[in-house]
C-alpha cells in the first residue's frame, strides 16, 4: 500500500543523477575518545623537528640502476619482447624488495589502513580518512612485523592527505633510523607510466606479513588525483604508489566501480603543505572528495513511518540486507520518525562511518550494521 505513493525525495533524485563512485579504503569502525590534553604541547615541540623535504641520499642501491631502455618502457612505453619482460621482472623484484620495508600497516582506533615512511626520522604519509584526527595515537606495523607507536599530525581533508610521526620513543629497541622512500613528483608523470602500489589490502594479516604488491599504469593525472589500474581495496588506504625509481608519487585513497578506478592523492600536495601537516593542522572536508554520505534507500516524504520504498542497487543498504517495505526505527542510536528526519541523520555522518540501524520487518525488529557510502557532489577533476 505504501509503494503506491512512494515519491522520491530530493536525496534519491540527486543520487540518480550522480555517479556512484565507490568508497574510501580504510577498514573498520571509527570511534575515538576525546583528544589527549597534551596535544598542544606535542604540536609545539614538533615545530622544531627536522623536516627534510628531499632525501639527502637516494635510498636506491646501485643494483637498481635503470637502463635507458627500461626507463623508456616504464615512463610510458610498452614491453615488446620476452627480453623486455625479463628485464622488467628482474628490476621489479629488486625494486619491490627495496620499497617493501618502507610500507607500514596503520591502525588508528578500530580503523585499519596503510602508510609509507618518507624520512629516516619517521615521518609517515597516509590518508586523512585513516589518520582521522590530529593527536591520536597510531599503531604502525613494519613489514618485518615490528610494531611501533606513532602520533597523528596534520590532515588535509580536501585532498585526503594525512601525516603521522613515529614516536621518538616508539620502543626501547626500535628507534630508527627508519627505512624510508623519498618523495617523487606526480606532476612530471604522464599517462601510460608504470607504477607499483603497496598496501595491506584487506587489513594487516599476520599470515602474510608483507604488504601486497600491485603493478599497473597511470591512466590519468589531475591536480587533485592520480588514477591508475593498480587495483586497490579496503586496507590499502594511505599506502604508497611508487614510480619505477622507488619514489613515492601518490597515497592510496579511494576506488570506483571499475578496476580502472583506483585513486591516489598526488604526493606533491604533501610537499606543498608540509609545514601545516607537520604542525598538526587539519583543514578541509572529505565531502569535497567523495561527496555526501548515503545509505542508498528511497522513501516517501512526510510519511508517518520511514518505510523504505526502494533500495539503490549496489548500495550499502542492499549489502546490509535492507529490503523494500522495511521501516527504519533507529539510526545510529537516534529515533527515526520520518524519512525526512532519516535524511537529516544520514547527512550528519561521513562516508565510511559504520552505523547501526534498527528496523521493523513483518513485526520483527532487526538490527543491521552498515558502512555508509558516498555520492560525489562535483567532479573529482575540478
Amino acid at each position: 500500500m505504501v509503494g503506491a505513493f512512494v515519491k522520491k525525495i530530493a536525496l534519491s533524485d540527486r543520487v540518480r543523477q550522480q555517479r556512484w563512485i565507490g568508497a574510501f579504503l580504510a577498514i573498520g569502525a571509527i570511534s575515538f575518545p576525546t583528544l589527549p590534553a597534551t596535544f598542544a604541547q606535542q604540536a609545539a615541540s614538533r615545530r622544531t623537528e627536522l623536516r627534510p623535504l628531499v632525501a639527502t641520499a637516494s635510498s636506491l642501491p646501485q643494483s637498481l640502476v635503470l637502463s635507458p631502455h627500461l626507463a623508456a618502457i616504464y615512463t610510458g612505453d610498452v614491453p615488446k619482447s620476452i627480453g623486455d619482460l625479463q628485464q622488467m621482472s628482474a628490476y621489479q623484484q629488486a625494486l619491490v624488495s627495496q620499497v617493501t620495508p618502507t610500507t607500514v600497516a596503520v591502525q588508528v582506533g578500530a580503523t585499519q589502513g596503510s602508510g609509507v615512511i618518507i624520512t629516516p626520522d619517521g615521518y609517515v604519509l597516509t590518508a586523512a580518512h585513516v589518520a582521522h584526527q590530529p593527536g591520536l595515537q597510531a599503531r604502525l606495523i613494519l613489514s618485518d612485523g615490528r610494531m611501533v607507536r606513532g602520533t597523528i599530525l596534520g590532515m588535509n581533508k580536501d585532498m585526503d592527505a594525512g601525516m603521522i610521526k613515529i614516536d621518538a620513543t616508539a620502543s626501547e629497541q626500535n628507534s630508527g633510523p627508519w627505512p624510508f622512500a623519498p618523495m617523487g613528483s606526480a606532476s612530471v608523470l604522464k599517462p601510460g607510466s608504470w607504477c607499483l602500489a603497496l598496501g595491506h589490502a584487506g587489513g594487516y594479516q599476520k599470515d602474510r606479513g608483507e604488504p601486497a604488491v600491485r603493478f599497473g599504469r597511470i591512466l590519468a593525472i589531475q591536480r587533485k588525483v592520480i588514477e591508475t589500474d593498480c587495483t586497490l581495496v579496503g586496507g590499502d588506504s594511505g599506502g604508497p604508489l611508487f614510480d619505477m625509481q622507488g619514489k613515492v608519487i601518490g597515497i592510496h585513497s579511494r576506488i570506483g566501480n571499475s578496476l580502472a578506478k583506483n585513486m591516489h592523492v598526488p604526493v606533491d600536495t604533501f610537499r606543498q603543505t608540509w609545514d601545516r601537516l607537520a604542525d598538526g593542522q587539519t583543514w578541509g572536508s572529505l565531502l569535497s572528495i567523495i561527496g555526501r554520505p548515503i545509505i542508498g534507500v528511497y522513501g516517501p516524504e512526510n510519511s508517518d513511518d520511514p518505510r523504505i520504498g526502494g533500495i539503490m542497487p549496489g548500495s550499502p543498504a542492499e549489502y546490509a540486507g535492507l529490503k523494500t517495505g522495511d521501516v527504519i526505527t533507529t539510526f545510529a542510536g537516534r529515533q527515526v520518525k520520518s524519512f525526512t528526519q532519516l535524511k537529516q541523520l544520514v547527512d550528519k555522518r561521513e562516508p565510511g562511518d559504520e552505523v547501526v540501524i534498527q528496523l521493523k520487518r513483518n513485526g520483527q525488529t532487526i538490527v543491521v550494521k552498515l558502512v555508509m557510502g558516498g555520492v560525489r557532489r562535483s567532479s573529482i577533476s575540478d
Partner: protein, 400 residues
C-alpha cells in the same frame, strides 16, 4: 584542412589492421590440424579464417577504437599492446590449456597434466557432466575422477592421447614483482600480472562457536558473542549435522566444511536441538569469529564477480592478474612458459590465487587414481607411487 588528420588516422588504422592480420595468419599456420590425437571428438569448432567476435574486439582494442566495458584505456596494463609481448610466452602452455564446459557454458579452464588425457581443473566450478575443449577446438566428454577439497582441485579424464602436457616450474615461487601470465587457448594470453605475495595461508570464515565431539556429531559448547552463530540463534547444546546440505560427522569435518566459505558468506546449518531438526542460516565472521563489516565485502566486489570458493587454502601464490571465476583452473606461467601453479580463485578486487606447483605435483598421483578401479588395486598403485592414499571420495552431497 580539417580533413587531413582524418586521412592520416585512417591510413594508420589500415596499416595496423594489416600488421595484425599478418600476425593472425602466422598463428593459423602454426596451429595446424591436430595430429596423433585419438579419441572421440564430439564437435569440431569452426576453424574460420574470419575473425571471431573475440578477435574482432581485440583488433578494435588494439587500435584504440573501443573502450571495453571495464573502461580499458590504451594505457591500461592489460591493453592488447602490452599483452602482445606475451604471445611467445604462452605459445606452448596455451596448447596445454583447455576450456571446461558444463551445460555448454564455460565454467573453468583446465590444465593438461598427462598426455593421455588427465586434466586438472577447479573442482567447485564443475556443475554436472563436463566437456573439455582443447586449444584446437576439439571437444571431448570428460569423466570426473577425483576432487581434493583442501585445494579445490579436480581431475578430469578425457579419452585422448598424445596431448601436449604442461611443463612445470617447481623450484619455489618467483619473487614478488615478477611477471606472471595466464594463458587461455588463444595466441594472446588472458591476462598478465605480477606476484603480489609469496605463498601464504588463506583462512576461511568462522561461525563463532566452540565445539566438542558427541555421539550425534559436533556439539556446540559455547557461542561467541557478536558472532554469526549468535545472530542466527545457535545455542549451546546444539548438534550441527550438515553444512549447506553436506553432512558433517566430526568437529574436523565441520571445520573443513565451514572454512571453504568466505567471511560474509552465509551457510545453512542443519541443527539437532532437543531431537528436533532445525535449519539456521548463519553469516560467517572473520578470523576472530566476529561479523565483519558489510562494506568490506562490498568493496571486494567492485570490479567483477569473485569465485564462490576463494578461501580456506593452506598455501596460495597471490598475484594481481584480473581473472573471471570461469578463467580459473588453468595454469599460471612464468616468462619461460612454465607453470608456477594452477589458478584456483578470483579472490578479491585486488587478488587472484594459484595453488603452487609443488603442492599440485604432490597431489597429482592421488587425483589420477581411477575411483572405479577396485580398491585393492588402487591401494597398490598408490603405494608404488609412494604417495598417501587419496582421501575417501565422499559423495559431494549425500541426501537421505
Amino acid at each position: 584542412m580539417r580533413i587531413q588528420p582524418r586521412i592520416t588516422t585512417r591510413f594508420l588504422v589500415m596499416a595496423m589492421m594489416l600488421s595484425t592480420l599478418t600476425l593472425y595468419a602466422v598463428r593459423a599456420q602454426s596451429a595446424g590440424p591436430p595430429a596423433n590425437r585419438t579419441g572421440q571428438s564430439i564437435r569440431q569448432a569452426p576453424q574460420s579464417a574470419h575473425s571471431t567476435p573475440d578477435q574482432e574486439s581485440w583488433l578494435k582494442e588494439l587500435m584504440g577504437l573501443t573502450r571495453t566495458k571495464h573502461g580499458v584505456s590504451q594505457y591500461s596494463r592489460n591493453h592488447a599492446s602490452v599483452l602482445r609481448a606475451f604471445i611467445p610466452v604462452v605459445s606452448e602452455p596455451s596448447k596445454s590449456t583447455v576450456i571446461v564446459l558444463c551445460n555448454n557454458k564455460q565454467v573453468a579452464l583446465g590444465t593438461i597434466v598427462r598426455n593421455d588425457g588427465f586434466i586438472v581443473t577447479k573442482a567447485s566450478q564443475l556443475d554436472g557432466p563436463a566437456t573439455c575443449q582443447l586449444n584446437d577446438g576439439t571437444r571431448y566428454e570428460a569423466r570426473l575422477l577425483n576432487k581434493d577439497d583442501k585445494t579445490d582441485l579436480a581431475m578430469l579424464k578425457i579419452s585422448a592421447e598424445y596431448l601436449p602436457t604442461i611443463q612445470w616450474q617447481s623450484s619455489g615461487s618467483p619473487l614478488r614483482g615478477s611477471w606472471v601470465v595466464t594463458p587461455g587457448v588463444d595466441s594472446l594470453p588472458i591476462t598478465a600480472g605480477i606476484v603480489s605475495l609469496l605463498p601464504h595461508r588463506v583462512r576461511g570464515g568462522k561461525i563463532g562457536v566452540q565445539l566438542g565431539e558427541s555421539e550425534q556429531g559436533p556439539r556446540v559448547h559455547f557461542v561467541l558473542p557478536g558472532s554469526g552463530a549468535e545472530k542466527a540463534g545457535v545455542k549451546p547444546g546444539d548438534v550441527i549435522t550438515a553444512v549447506n546440505g553436506r553432512f558433517v560427522e566430526t568437529v574436523d569435518s565441520l571445520i573443513n566444511a565451514i572454512t571453504t566459505y568466505a567471511p560474509g558468506d552465509r551457510v545453512h546449518l542443519a541443527v539437532l536441538r532437543n531431537n528436533q531438526k532445525i535449519q539456521l542460516p548463519v553469516p560467517l565472521g572473520n578470523r576472530s569469529g566476529r561479523l565483519g563489516s558489510s562494506h568490506a565485502s562490498f568493496q571486494q566486489r567492485l570490479g567483477g564477480p569473485l569465485s564462490h570458493r576463494r578461501v580456506g587454502f593452506a598455501a596460495v601464490l597471490e598475484h594481481d592478474s584480473v581473472l573471471k571465476p570461469e578463467q580459473c583452473g588453468g595454469p599460471l606461467v612464468d616468462l619461460n612458459g612454465r607453470a608456477l601453479g594452477i589458478n584456483i580463485a578470483r579472490a578479491s578486487r585486488v587478488a587472484s590465487f594459484a595453488i603452487p606447483t609443488d603442492e599440485v605435483l604432490t597431489l597429482l598421483p592421488a587425483l589420477m587414481v581411477d575411483p572405479t578401479t577396485p580398491v585393492s588395486h588402487a591401494r597398490q598403485e598408490s603405494t608404488l607411487l609412494k604417495v598417501p592414499f587419496p582421501p575417501a571420495n565422499l559423495p559431494e552431497t549425500s541426501r537421505r
